[in-house]
C-alpha cells in the first residue's frame, strides 16, 4: 500500500505557469483518474510524478519520502505510455525483461516475473514476437506487462487507450479494471480525456482546469454534487444546462426567477442574505421532463436527435448562449418545431453563484 502526496506542486516553463498549487492526497490502493480539457496539464502532472518533468515548486512524496529529486527509476513507479513506447528491436519477452536486466536481477527471477506477467495478460503465445507483429491491443498489453514485471508501488497510465479503436478500447478498459481488482494493493494514476473511462475506472476523479484542481471526488460525487460550473459542465454528456436567474425565495428550498421567464425550485437551502443574488441554475439534460403548469424551461424545439434509447431536444435560443438540451427517455416523435415546457425535480437543480455551487 503506497501513499502519494502532492503539496502545492507547481510547474512553470520560463514565465508560463502550467500548473500551480496542486494539493492531493492519494492513499494506497486507489485508482485515481486525472481528467480535464486538452492542455490542462494532466499529462504534465503525471510526468512530474514519473520524474520525466522536473517539479518547479512544492513537494511530491511517495510513502512519506520526498521524491522531487529522486531519479525516475528509483521512485518505485512504472508508466504505460499512450503510444505504447515498446522497444521495436526487442521481442515481447525482452521488452518486459529489460528493466529487470538493467537492475541486474538473476536470470531465473527475471524469467519468472516475465512469465507471470505474460500469464496475467495472456501474452504467452507472443513472447518471442517483435512488437511490429502484434495488434494494437496486444501491444498495449505488452506495455502494461512491462509495468507489471517491475512490481512498482505506483502505476502511471498516460491515456493508454486513446490509440485503440472503439471496441478494443472497451475491452482493454475492462481488462484494466480487472487488473486493478487482481492487484488491490497497487496504487494507480490514470490520465484520460475520456469521461467514460474516468467514470468507470476511477475510485476518485481529479478534474484539472485553469492550472489547478477544479474538484476531487468519486465519480458520482462529481456527477451529483459538482462544486463549480466547470465540473458541472465537464462531467456528464451532453453538458449540464446553465440558465441565468435571480433568487426570489430562500429557505429550505430556493426559488429562482429565470431571466428567460421560467421558475426553478432547488432543494439547496439558502439564507435570507442570498435573496436577490443573481445565479446560474444548472440542470442536466437527463433530469428534465415535460411539465404542465409551472415550468423551468420553455422553448421551441429547434432540432431533435433520436438515438433510440433516448431522444435529445435542442431548444431554440435567442441569445448567443449554448443551446439548451433535454434528454427524454425512449422515442419521442413530432416534437420538432413544437413549443415544449420542461421541469425538473428540486433535488436535481443546482445553483451556482459566480461559478461556484451554493451547496454548503
Amino acid at each position: 500500500m503506497t501513499d502519494l502526496k502532492l503539496t502545492s506542486v507547481a510547474k512553470t516553463y520560463g514565465s508560463v505557469d502550467v500548473l500551480k498549487d496542486i494539493n492531493l492526497d492519494i492513499s494506497g490502493g486507489e485508482l485515481i483518474v486525472f481528467v480535464g480539457p486538452s492542455g490542462c496539464g494532466k499529462s504534465t502532472l503525471l510526468r512530474m510524478i514519473a520524474g520525466l518533468e522536473s517539479i518547479s515548486g512544492g513537494t511530491l512524496e511517495i510513502d512519506d519520502t520526498v521524491m522531487n529529486d529522486v531519479p525516475p527509476a528509483q521512485r518505485g513507479i512504472a508508466m504505460v505510455f499512450q503510444s505504447y513506447a515498446l522497444y521495436p528491436h526487442m521481442t515481447v519477452r525482452d521488452n518486459m525483461a529489460f528493466a529487470l536486466k538493467i537492475a541486474k536481477q538473476p536470470k531465473d527471477e527475471v524469467d519468472k516475473a516475465v512469465e507471470r506477467a505474460a500469464r496475467i495478460l495472456q501474452l504467452e503465445p507472443f513472447l518471442d514476437r517483435l512488437p511490429k507483429a502484434l495488434s494494437g491491443g496486444q501491444r498495449q498489453r505488452v506495455a502494461i506487462g512491462r509495468a507489471i514485471v517491475r512490481d512498482p508501488k505506483v502505476y502511471l497510465f498516460d491515456e493508454p487507450l486513446s490509440n485503440l479503436d472503439a471496441a478494443l478500447r472497451v475491452a482493454t478498459r475492462i481488462e484494466i479494471a480487472r487488473l486493478k481488482e487482481a492487484m488491490p494493493d497497487s496504487t494507480m494514476i490514470y490520465v484520460t480525456h475520456d469521461q467514460v473511462e474516468a467514470m468507470t475506472l476511477a475510485s476518485r476523479i481529479v478534474v484539472l482546469a485553469n492550472k489547478g484542481i477544479a474538484q476531487v471526488g468519486t465519480p458520482l460525487e462529481l456527477y451529483e454534487t459538482p462544486d463549480n460550473e466547470f465540473v458541472a459542465q465537464f462531467i456528464g454528456s451532453p453538458a449540464m444546462n446553465l440558465l441565468p436567474g435571480t433568487i426570489t425565495e430562500t429557505g429550505e428550498t430556493t426559488t429562482v426567477a429565470l431571466d428567460a421567464g421560467g421558475t426553478a425550485v432547488s432543494a439547496i437551502p439558502t439564507g435570507p442574505e442570498d435573496k436577490g443574488k443573481s445565479v446560474n441554475v444548472g440542470v442536466r439534460p437527463e433530469d428534465l421532463y415535460t411539465a404542465n403548469g409551472t415550468y423551468l424551461l420553455q422553448g421551441k424545439v429547434d432540432f431533435t436527435e433520436a438515438l433510440g434509447e433516448v431522444t435529445l431536444l435542442y431548444f431554440e435560443n435567442e441569445a448567443d448562449n449554448d443551446a439548451m438540451i433535454a434528454k427524454l427517455p425512449g422515442v419521442q416523435k413530432n416534437l420538432r418545431g413544437e413549443t415544449v415546457a420542461m421541469s425538473a425535480d428540486p433535488e436535481k437543480v443546482h445553483l451556482f453563484h459566480n461559478g461556484l455551487s451554493l451547496r454548503k
Binding site: 503510444s83 513506447a85 521495436p88 528493466a99
Partner: protein, 335 residues
C-alpha cells in the same frame, strides 16, 4: 563569340532541345503512330500508353549506356588486350591479370585498400554517431554540426593540400609550420619528422583526411536517424532504470541499425575508390599505394592500358557486391 554568349546559347539549345524532345516525341506517338481516333482508337490509346514511359526513360538510358555501360565493356575488352609497339592491339587473354598479380606493388595496393576499408568506415561512422549524439541536445549543437560538416564541401584534393600543410616538415633549425611537427617538437621531439614517408603509419596519416571529410556525412545522416527515434521509447528506458550509456547502446543504436549499415557501406564504397588523396599527398610512394592510384599509374603514366584496365576491373568487382547490398539496405529502410 564571347564565351558568356556561347554558354548562354548552349543552355538555351540544351534546354529547348530537352523540352522539344519530350514534346515532339509525344506528339508523334499520339498523332502519327497511334492516333486516338478511327476504328482502333481504344487499342491505339493503350499502345501509346505502353510506349510513353520508354520515351521518357530513353534519354537517361542512352546517357547511362554511353557513359557507364559502354566504358565497363570497353575496360573489360582492354584488360584482355595488349598494345603492339608501333600501334594497334592484340588479344592477350589473361596475360595482363597474370602480370598484375605478379607485381608486389599491386599487392601493396590491395593490402592498403583493405586497411583503408577497415579503418575509415569504422572511424567515420563511429565519430559521426558520437558527434550526432553529443550535439543532439545542446544549444550550440547546430553550430558544431555545421563546422564538422564543412569538410564535405571541400574537394578531396583541397583537403589533401590542407592536410599536407598539417604534416609539413621544415629543416630542424627553422620554425615548423606543420602543426603535427610543431606539436611533436613542443612535446620534446628532437628532429622534425617527415610524416608522410614513414612506411605503414603514413597510410593512417592519409586515412585521417578521408575520416575528416566523411565524419560530417555520417553525422548528418545519423543525426536525422537519431531524431527519428520515438521519444517515448527513451523515456520508457529512463523509467526502466537505464543509464545514458545503456540508453545509447541498447535502445538508440539498435533502432538506427539499418541507417548505420547504409552509412557504413556508402563510406566503404568511397574508400574503395579512393584516389585523389593518395595522388595529391604521396602519389603512392613510401608504401601508400592504393588500387585506384595504381590503376592511374599503369593507365596514364606507364601507358600500359592492359594492366591498368585489369586493375580497374578488380576495383569494380570489389565495389559491386557492397553496392548491391547498400542499395538493398537503403530500400529496406525506406519501406
Amino acid at each position: 563569340m564571347h564565351p558568356a554568349i556561347q554558354g548562354l546559347l548552349t543552355i538555351v539549345i540544351g534546354v529547348s532541345g530537352c523540352v522539344g524532345y519530350f514534346y515532339f516525341s509525344n506528339q508523334f506517338l499520339d498523332k502519327v503512330l497511334f492516333p486516338a481516333r478511327g476504328p482502333n482508337a481504344g487499342r491505339n490509346i493503350n499502345r501509346a500508353n505502353m510506349i510513353r514511359p520508354w520515351l521518357f526513360l530513353f534519354p537517361a538510358l542512352a546517357a547511362l549506356g554511353l557513359y557507364l555501360a559502354y566504358p565497363v565493356y570497353e575496360t573489360l575488352r582492354l584488360s584482355l588486350t595488349e598494345r603492339i609497339p608501333g600501334g594497334g592491339y592484340q588479344w592477350a587473354g589473361a596475360d595482363n591479370y597474370v602480370q598484375m598479380v605478379a607485381e608486389p606493388k599491386f599487392w601493396e595496393a590491395m593490402r592498403n585498400n583493405m586497411l583503408w576499408l577497415i579503418v575509415v568506415p569504422a572511424l567515420s561512422t563511429g565519430f559521426g554517431l558520437l558527434v550526432a549524439q553529443l550535439t543532439d541536445r545542446i544549444r550550440w549543437g547546430n553550430v558544431a554540426k555545421s563546422l564538422i560538416f564543412m569538410p564535405m564541401a571541400i574537394s578531396f584534393v583541397g583537403a589533401s593540400v590542407i592536410w599536407k600543410l598539417v604534416y609539413d616538415t621544415r629543416p630542424a633549425e627553422q620554425d615548423q609550420i606543420g602543426i603535427l611537427n610543431a606539436v611533436y617538437i613542443f612535446f620534446g621531439g628532437t628532429d622534425p619528422q617527415t610524416w608522410l614517408t614513414i612506411p605503414f603509419w603514413n597510410n593512417f596519416f592519409l586515412m585521417v583526411v578521408l575520416v575528416w571529410i566523411q565524419t560530417g556525412f555520417a553525422m548528418v545522416i545519423l543525426s536525422a536517424a537519431l531524431r527519428g527515434i520515438p521519444e517515448e521509447t527513451i523515456e520508457a528506458a529512463i523509467l526502466d532504470g537505464a543509464n545514458p550509456f545503456q540508453i545509447f547502446f541498447r535502445i538508440k543504436v539498435p533502432q538506427i541499425k539499418t541507417t548505420i549499415l547504409v552509412v557504413w557501406t556508402t563510406i566503404t564504397i568511397t574508400v574503395l575508390k579512393v584516389f585523389d588523396i593518395v595522388f595529391a599527398m604521396t602519389n603512392g610512394q613510401w608504401e601508400t599505394q592504393v588500387l585506384a592510384n595504381y590503376m592511374y599509374d599503369k593507365l596514364f603514366r606507364a601507358n600500359d592500358w592492359g594492366v591498368g584496365s585489369a586493375s580497374a576491373m578488380v576495383i569494380m568487382v570489389l565495389v559491386t557486391p557492397i553496392l548491391i547490398w547498400n542499395v538493398r539496405n537503403a530500400r529496406k529502410e525506406m519501406r
